[in-house]
C-alpha cells in the first residue's frame, strides 16, 4: 500500500519559483501558458498488511503535521495499491 501526498501552495500565496519556471517555459516557446505553480510530491510506502483506511489516516496525519505548513500550503492524499 502506498500513499501519494501532494503539497501545494495555497491559492493566492505568491509562488516566485513557479513564476521563474513559467518564464523558462515561455522561453522554450510555450506562450500559451496561463500559470505554473510549483509543489512537492511524496510517496509513502506502508508495511504489508495495512488497510486502506489506516494508510489514509496515517498519510493525512503526516501531511498535516510534517509535510505541509498549514499557514501557506495545502495537501492532498491519494492511496494506491503496490506497483501503481
Amino acid at each position: 500500500m502506498k500513499a501519494k501526498v501532494y503539497v501545494t501552495l495555497k491559492k493566492g500565496v505568491l509562488d516566485p519559483q513557479g513564476k521563474a519556471i513559467h518564464h523558462s517555459a515561455e522561453l522554450l516557446g510555450f506562450t500559451q501558458l496561463a500559470d505554473i505553480r510549483q509543489g512537492k510530491y511524496f510517496e509513502i510506502t506502508f508495511n504489508n498488511g495495512i488497510g486502506e483506511a489506516e494508510a489514509r489516516e496515517a498519510a493525512e496525519s503526516i501531511g498535516r503535521d510534517v509535510l505541509a505548513n498549514p499557514v501557506i500550503e495545502d495537501f492532498a492524499v491519494e492511496i494506491a495499491e503496490d506497483g501503481k
Binding site: 500565496v13 505568491l14 516566485p16 519559483q17 521563474a20 510534517v66 509535510l67 505548513n69 499557514v71 501557506i72
Partner: protein, 233 residues
C-alpha cells in the same frame, strides 16, 4: 544569568551568538545540543541561524521535531526569553512559537547584505533600551525570509504591537524598495503575544563590533540582558 545557544545539525551561527554573548555582552553562555531536554539552568535561549537539517523539506521544518523543542516550548511558557535569529526565526514559526511562516524571497535570490531596520517599539524585552523609530543597520543572509501570514494574523500583530522590526530606508521610511525579500508589511522581526519570544531574520550577532560594519546588534543583546535582570529579580 545564563544564556544558552541551541545547536542543531546544520546550525552555523551558533558560535557567533556564543562569542557575542560571552565577549560583548559579558554573560555566561553554554551551547545546548538539540538532543538535550533540560533547560532549567538557562534564563534566555538563542535559536541561531544556519541550515538546520540542511533546510530539508522547508527551512526549520525538521528542527522543530528535535527533542529540545518540547522543552523550549515549556521554557517559553514560563515567560523566559527565546530569541530566534534567521533559521531560528524559521524554526520558531514552524514550531508554532511564533505566528506566520517564512517563504522563499520574492526575488528568489539568496540575499546577503546590510539592511536598515526601523525599531517599531521599545515595549519588548529585546528593544527596551532602543528608542522606537531608531534605524539599525544589521546584515541579512537568507533565501527564505519572506514573512507571510493571513489577514487576521497580520491585524493582530499590528494591534498588539508584536511587530518589532521593519525593513526601511536609511531615514526610517518603511518603503517597498527597502523590502528586500517581499515580507508582508516589511516585517523583519516579531514577538509572540507575551513578548518573551522574538524571531528576526537579520543577524544582530554579526553586528556587535564597528570593525564588522555595525555594532547596532549589541543594543538588542543589552536590552535582553536588562530584561533578564528584571525577570530574575
Amino acid at each position: 544569568m545564563k544564556f544558552g545557544v541551541i545547536v542543531f545539525p546544520g546550525s552555523n551561527c551558533d558560535h557567533d551568538a556564543y562569542h557575542v554573548v560571552s565577549k560583548y555582552v559579558g554573560q555566561p553562555v553554554d551551547f545546548i545540543w538539540h538532543k538535550e531536554t533540560d533547560l532549567s539552568s538557562f534564563d534566555a535561549v538563542i535559536v541561531p541561524g544556519g541550515f538546520s537539517y540542511g533546510d530539508y523539506l522547508r527551512a526549520g521544518a525538521l528542527a522543530r521535531f528535535s527533542p529540545v523543542m518540547a522543552s523550549l516550548k515549556e521554557f517559553a511558557a514560563e515567560g523566559k526569553f527565546v530569541m530566534g535569529i534567521c533559521n531560528g526565526f524559521q524554526i520558531l514559526c514552524e514550531a508554532g512559537l511564533l505566528p506566520g511562516a517564512l517563504r522563499r524571497n520574492a526575488g528568489l535570490h539568496f540575499i546577503c547584505k546590510h539592511v536598515n531596520l526601523r525599531v517599531e517599539t521599545s515595549n519588548s524585552p529585546f528593544t527596551n533600551r532602543i528608542e522606537a523609530g531608531r534605524v539599525l543597520s544589521l546584515p541579512i543572509a537568507h533565501a527564505e525570509g519572506n514573512y507571510t501570514c493571513d489577514d487576521e494574523t497580520y491585524s493582530s500583530l499590528e494591534e498588539n504591537g508584536q511587530i518589532v522590526f521593519r525593513y526601511c530606508d536609511e531615514y526610517g521610511n518603511v518603503v517597498e524598495s527597502a523590502n528586500e525579500n517581499g515580507s508582508r508589511g516589511n516585517i523583519a522581526g516579531i514577538t509572540n503575544l507575551d513578548r518573551n519570544v522574538l524571531g528576526m531574520m537579520p543577524h544582530p550577532e554579526r553586528a556587535c563590533d564597528d570593525l564588522l560594519g555595525s555594532s547596532d546588534g549589541c543594543d538588542i543583546f543589552r536590552s535582553l540582558t536588562s530584561s533578564i535582570e528584571a525577570f530574575v529579580a
